[in-house]
């Protein structure tokens, strides 16, 4: 067995001014998996979305589960033009940020569709998990994270992308 250090920071941004989206572009194909870590606050009533490689076609789908303190629920969406990363609303209250960690495994292979799996946590709303499929065999080179209703991410929101390379 071989061993090599990995889990490398690719890029990270902390918003110093509000923004409705954050883009990671020219993502290197040097890794095996990507991990996207978001800690965000936004204008009221917005949700996290993701588009890959600027694809706005109906090539996305997702299945989710969440618990809101009262009950657990599950649902799905097919043939969507973007992914809702998780089901929780992005917090808008002062000093309140959610945590969303997204795994994108084997993102650079040009053979399989890509599966995107996220865990979301907004303590004022819910906790849950979402798995999504991007029906493309293209290597992922760009990630666009945006709010669904056009509201801005607030100052202090952080977006970090890591790469994990298998031996």
């Amino acid at each position: 067995m071989t061993a090599g250090a990995t889990y490398t920071s690719i890029a990270s941004t902390t918003l110093s001014s509000t923004a409705s989206s954050v883009t990671f572009s020219s993502i290197s194909g040097a890794y095996t998996d990507l991990v996207l870590v978001i800690s965000a606050r936004a204008a009221s009533g917005n949700y996290h979305t993701l588009k890959i490689n600027s694809d706005s076609g109906s090539n996305y789908s997702r299945t989710w589960i969440y618990g809101d303190g009262t009950s657990a629920s599950s649902g799905r969406q097919s043939n969507a033009s973007f992914i809702y990363l998780v089901t929780e609303v992005i917090p808008s209250a002062a000093s309140t940020f959610d945590t969303v960690i997204t795994n994108i495994n084997n993102y650079s292979n040009a053979t399989t569709y890509k599966t995107i799996m996220s865990r979301g946590n907004n303590s004022a709303d819910q906790t849950g998990a979402t798995v999504a499929l991007w029906r493309s065999t293209s290597a992922i080179t760009t990630l666009l994270i945006a709010t669904d209703a056009g509201g801005n991410y607030q100052i202090g929101s952080t977006f970090s992308l890591y790469g994990i390379a298998a031996a």
Partner: protein
């Protein structure tokens, strides 16, 4: 990610240090029934297994079987699962070595991120947890697994199987150590 100073560069050059290392990986170029990581070094604190896997033609979505040290006695394990199938949230428990999901005949592959904590500790039963998901544009599952192996042995090998099915070509399995 931690930032450290290499001993060989004590003049002050900063270099990235990491506590997360790749141990071994397998990507299938042809179908396989069993994936084994053996001779796992004891130099880490925790293990993480990251998989992307699907079954061969005709198979349904099913649990990923994860056994330790070649122990396939189901009563030595206990698993709990919380999942959503796109319509309802459900729970499941069994005495078996289940710790993830394998996709069916659709085009998607199931993704599993599995953590196995304190795997060398000989005073503890070993607990694993998984975040798993598979979506096929109209079907799929997403959820959480936990599994206990009721043995105090240090884990030195991990075997991944399904009930009887074959892992499909391009399925990949990567093992990492966390210090």
């Amino acid at each position: 990610m931690k930032i450290g100073i290499m001993a060989s560069q004590i003049s002050g050059h900063l270099t990235p240090a990491t506590s997360y290392e790749s141990i071994a990986t397998t990507t299938l170029s042809t179908g396989a029934t069993t994936i084994t990581f053996s001779s796992i070094p004891a130099t880490y604190k925790h293990l993480q297994l990251r998989t992307m896997c699907a079954s061969d033609s005709g198979s349904a979505e099913q649990a990923l079987k994860v056994s330790f040290n070649s122990n396939t006695t189901t009563t030595d394990y206990y698993a709990h699962r919380l999942n959503g199938n796109g319509a309802t949230a459900g729970v499941y428990t069994t005495q078996d070595f289940l710790l993830g999901e394998v996709a069916s005949t659709g085009s998607g592959y199931a993704v599993n991120v599995i953590d196995i904590l304190d795997y060398t500790n000989t005073n503890k039963y070993k607990t694993g947890r998984a975040l798993f998901g598979i979506d096929n544009n109209g079907s799929g599952f997403v959820g959480l697994f936990s599994m206990v192996w009721m043995k105090t042995d240090a884990i030195t090998s991990i075997t991944l199987t399904q009930n009887t099915q074959i892992f499909r070509t391009y399925s990949s399995f990567a093992l990492y150590g966390v210090k």
